[in-house]
């Protein structure tokens, strides 16, 4: 199968764009694992709910994309916080497998309910007018909206990395994770901090959902399809490592893009091969550390 260089460039560019999308999605998962040691499979459901909130805001309240970018993640974060306070915090002292299983159960409930109420067909959501159209690069047409997604992704990644590494909030969050008793001794309300952190991680997924709504069909199934990939991204990058999520997200987008060129049937599975290889050589991931 021959492919000219221009066409190949287009393929890889798309892969990069998708990779930045994976990076945003995996940020939330990474933060939560770093904070709580819990693999939050519900993240996929929150992504989907974020997209649905955007649709609901438009459909029922006439609130457009820009409003949704702020309101939807807040709504999703609120739900996440409630779930954390009521349910998820009960499994912290247990084996981490229970956290994985609990969030898996929540994923089933949320997704199943949405399928029951809305059906699986998907809801229409338009690209906002300001972001329509694109640039003709010669070898392909690059939609403005995709550029926007990359810009947001880079911005979010940088902002998250900066907050965790450089600000008081980030430092305190990290301290609360590594030495909770000591942190509490300093007068910090650790449980509340954990809740805030969880809300942040979940809100990031909701935001990713709003970003996805104009380009991917808004359907209750959109979370399950993507969570497995994001899961692999975070594992490969290193659970709890922000830098790891970003690097592996983008790289895996590229790898998936390359696979779509040479052996498309395997494009959903190649990520698992990577995951296995990384887990064998360095189980904590490329940038991760032992918890």
């Amino acid at each position: 199968m021959t492919m000219s260089l221009p066409v190949l460039s287009g393929q890889l560019l798309v892969g990069l764009i998708n990779g930045s999308f994976y990076a945003i999605l995996s940020l939330g998962l990474s933060i939560i694992f770093g904070l709580l040691g819990i693999v939050n499979l519900t993240q996929g459901a929150f992504y989907m709910v974020g997209a649905f909130f955007a649709w609901m805001l438009l459909q029922w309240l006439g609130v457009g994309y820009w409003g949704a970018l702020i309101l939807a993640p807040l709504g999703v974060a609120a739900i996440g916080v409630i779930l954390e306070l009521l349910l998820i915090r009960r499994v912290y002292r247990l084996d981490h497998s229970y956290g994985l299983l609990l969030t898996f159960g929540l994923l089933l409930i949320i997704q199943g309910s949405f399928v029951y109420i809305f059906g699986t067909a998907g809801q229409p959501y338009p690209i906002p007018d300001e972001l329509r159209g694109g640039y003709n690069l010669g070898f392909m047409f690059l939609p403005k909206y995709r550029v926007w997604v990359v810009v947001v992704a880079l911005g979010l990644c940088f902002a998250t990395w900066y907050s965790i590494e450089r600000t008081w909030l980030g430092r305190t969050l990290r301290a609360a994770t590594e030495k909770p008793a000591l942190t509490r001794a300093f007068g910090i309300n650790v449980p509340r901090l954990v809740t805030v952190g969880f809300g942040l991680g979940v809100g990031l997924s909701g935001l990713a959902g709003v970003l996805a709504a104009p380009i991917y069909a808004v359907s209750p199934l959109m979370g399950a399809d993507i969570i497995i990939v994001v899961f692999a991204v975070v594992v490969i990058g290193g659970m709890g490592s922000i830098l790891g999520s970003i690097v592996s997200g983008v790289s895996l987008g590229l790898l998936e893009g390359l696979t779509k060129v040479v052996y498309p049937q395997a494009s959903s599975s190649v990520i698992f091969v990577m995951m296995i290889l990384v887990l064998l050589v360095k189980p904590t991931g490329l940038f991760g550390w032992e918890k």
Partner: protein, 399 residues
């Protein structure tokens, strides 16, 4: 014979004798569909409603017996479907099963119908196996199969001048079946398939495949993606300026009206698709569409309407021959044909129901005058262009 084995037949005997000279009290039809999972919008509650309407419009009785309609949720799990079907056929006196969205389950249930001497009408499954290796004297394949799904857009668009094709297909049996059927037919009509891409189902982003299709310069991009995959594919084709195009057309091989509704006319306009039923096509179809809409608030998919027409044909045939014996019903349909949307259609020896259909184009928003006014017919597709001949080497019912 072990003593415990006698208990079974004894129990049945007891049940039978307790109901004096029962015979069959009703004609029972089961709609086995996906009510709450992946196929619930394409089939699901709509299929059940279509079945109910068929029974109601027929009058609720046949040969002096009441017609009973039941339904169950197979949740997209083939073995659950098989389990329910077996219980229905063996223990609950169900005479006819329809719907069954999973091809694995449809093939298995058709075999079961043969084994138990019951009736199965494939009203939504598209696998060609049902009239080939799996053909049965107790079943008819009522809805389109991959042969007609593949051939329809090919014959109509190539008659309109299209020559080269780029196929984007799901990496599933249905995708392979569509390619296997479309490719020789395209070549037979003087065209060429430039390339085929198989994508894993559940792919969210089709951009790379679409860019390749665009670069290939093919006259038609043939998309075999189904449901959500198709919605994403078309959305991204529009986003990346691949559609609308004066040089390339997109034909969807498998599309439901609910998909058009989900994505919207703005994005979907100009797509070519074959539909064996469209609510606005003629008076007969419109009557059902409006009755369905009155209860469901949505216009029916061709899958829903397939259940309606199949059950109607079944009841009419039973009425005609005075018995609901499955082999006799099927034999009758093969002999004189079956009523379908106001016409009498032929049913082949292998169980394949033959009908013609239309190629449609999705309207632009400005062309749509009322809700659900989505499709514009552009070409009729004659029967001989839709179905390949029966294959006696695969189905022994064909002589």
């Amino acid at each position: 014979m072990r003593p415990s084995r006698l208990l079974g037949p004894l129990a049945v005997l007891a049940a039978l004798t307790s109901v004096a000279a029962a015979g069959e009290k009703s004609v029972k039809i089961g709609v086995l569909t996906d009510l709450t999972s992946f196929a619930s919008t394409a089939m699901g509650p709509g299929s059940v409603l279509a079945g109910q309407l068929a029974v109601e419009h027929f009058g609720g009785k046949v040969l002096g017996k009441p017609v009973e309609l039941i339904s169950a949720d197979m949740q997209s799990k083939p073995d659950l479907a098989v389990q329910i079907a077996r219980r229905w056929y063996e223990a609950e006196n169900v005479d006819l099963i329809v719907d069954v969205p999973a091809s694995a389950a449809a093939i298995a249930i058709q075999a079961m119908a043969t084994e138990k001497d019951k009736l199965f009408m494939a009203t939504v499954a598209a696998t060609p196996v049902l009239t080939l290796k799996g053909c049965s004297p107790n079943a008819v394949h009522w809805v389109n199969n991959t042969s007609s799904l593949a051939r329809s857009p090919v014959s109509a668009l190539m008659a309109d001048g299209a020559k080269t094709w780029f196929l984007i297909m799901p990496d599933y049996q249905i995708g392979k079946d569509l390619v296997a059927e479309a490719t020789p037919f395209i070549e037979q009509l003087g065209g060429r398939v430039l390339d085929v891409v198989y994508f894993p189902t559940g792919t969210g982003d089709f951009t790379q495949y679409l860019l390749r299709a665009q670069a290939s310069g093919a006259d038609v991009i043939g998309a075999g993606a189904i449901g959500l995959d198709l919605s994403n594919l078309i959305k991204q084709a529009v986003e990346f300026n691949i559609l609308p195009s004066s040089k390339q057309r997109l034909a969807a091989f498998v599309l439901n009206l609910s998909d058009v509704h989900a994505v919207g006319l703005q994005t979907m306009q100009g797509i070519y698709v074959m539909q064996e039923y469209y609510w606005d096509r003629n008076d007969v179809m419109r009557a059902f569409g409006k009755a369905f809409f009155a209860r469901f608030n949505r216009m029916p998919n061709f899958t829903h309407s397939s259940n309606y027409s199949a059950i109607t044909a079944y009841l009419k045939t039973v009425q005609d021959i005075g018995t609901d014996d499955p082999k006799k019903v099927v034999a009758r349909m093969k002999e004189v044909g079956a009523p379908r949307w106001g016409e009498q259609v032929k049913v082949r020896a292998d169980g394949r129901v033959l009908f013609n259909a239309d190629l449609y184009r999705v309207k632009a928003p400005s062309e749509s005058k009322e809700p659900w006014d989505y499709l514009k017919p552009v070409a009729a597709i004659p029967i001989d262009k839709m179905f390949p001949p029966a294959d006696p080497s695969q189905c022994s019912l064909v002589r």
